[in-house]
């Protein structure tokens, strides 16, 4: 399990994942060699899987992001698997979550503009198998997105 030092390191690291090691060590109150050893141990244990770059899609011309909330036809036992396999084939789908709740699956879909979104929605999304209901939330503004955890 993690001790207080590990948690302190992760707390500082998640707040600034692009910080140089020396500065991270200073913020976490450990020596650079302790930092390197602790991070290596957490990687070995699989607690720390890596540092992911987060693509800012509007900079690449994808101005629109939509959350599609999907209910599936659960009378078909293979509905989840077949829907997800098909959704993976749509390159503009950047996230897939499945849920316990009033909706079954969420797809995050990006598009260049409304015309492109309309094409995707009609040509690639509504044609996915076993959809019983689908509802869209259009993203207006990302207010908080750091995805840190309260360690």
């Amino acid at each position: 399990m993690l001790d207080d030092t590990d948690r302190r390191i992760l707390r500082q690291f998640q707040a600034a994942p692009d910080l140089p090691g020396a500065e991270l060590a200073e913020r976490a109150g450990v020596t650079p060699s302790t930092l390197a050893r602790r991070l290596a141990a957490m990687r070995d244990k699989g607690v720390l899987r890596g540092t992911r770059g987060v693509i800012h899609w509007p900079a690449l011309g994808y101005e629109l992001e939509v959350s599609l909330r999907v209910a599936l036809d659960k009378t078909v036992s293979s509905a989840f698997d077949e829907f997800i396999v098909a959704a993976r084939q749509v390159p503009e789908v950047i996230e897939i979550q499945t849920f316990l709740g009033s909706i079954d699956v969420r797809l995050a879909v990006i598009a260049r503009d409304l015309t492109h979104y309309q094409q995707l929605y009609r040509g690639r999304i509504l044609t996915l198998p076993h959809i019983s209901d689908i509802e869209a939330l259009m993203h207006v503004a990302l207010v908080k997105s750091d995805e840190t955890v309260p360690l």
Binding site: L2, L10, F13, Q14, P17, D18, K45, G46, V47, L48, R49, G50, T51, R52, G53, V54, I55, H56, W57, A59, L60, G61, Y62, S67, R88, P91, E92, V93, I94, E95, I96, Q97, T98, F99, L100, G101, S102, I103, R106, I110, E135, A136, L137, M138, H139, V140, A141, L142, V143, K144, S145, D146, E147, T148, V149, P150, L151
Partner: protein, 151 residues
């Protein structure tokens, strides 16, 4: 908007997997010299292709067993400013993502908690007491995958 060639696209994908990869090692993989690779990475960063990177942590191993997506509808628009709601909800440590959306809800939130009772505590004490909160819908995440996107 920045134009990408095939090498740039490969670089964006590689940095999305490992934001800390060095220009030297990425250059070796892609057949570029270290300085040429570094210049391309700089150009991508300056064009705003990346947001702040995020740590990929095994939340279960850290004691966070539950992730919940919430849809929040404001009850008293006009009386409570969106800024007040956004400031208050962003200050909750368990809330990882706050996004202003258009559709059946006004905001979508991503919340982490230790377990379902802990989530209920966050929901009742922190979220339901926010200024202006109306209808809230909770969906517990069972599985999640992030896709590479249309590059």
């Amino acid at each position: 908007m920045i134009d990408l060639d095939d090498t740039d696209r490969a670089l964006v994908l590689a940095l999305a997997k490992d934001a800390g990869a060095s220009a030297g090692s990425l250059g070796r993989e892609l057949g570029l010299s270290q300085p040429a690779c570094w210049r391309r990475i700089q150009r991508l960063r300056e064009a705003g292709v990346f947001r702040k990177p995020r740590l990929d942590l095994d939340l279960g191993a850290l004691g966070f067993g539950v992730t919940v997506f919430l849809g929040v509808k404001l009850a008293t628009k006009g009386r409570v400013s969106l800024e007040d709601f956004e400031r208050a909800v962003s200050a909750i440590p368990e809330v990882q993502i706050v996004e202003h959306v258009l559709g059946a809800f006004d905001y979508r939130l991503r919340v982490v908690a230790r377990d379902i009772p802990d989530f209920e505590r966050v929901l009742r004490r922190r979220i339901m007491t926010l200024p202006g909160v109306g209808r809230v819908e909770a969906n517990v995440v069972l599985t999640e995958e992030r896709r590479p996107g249309p590059l």
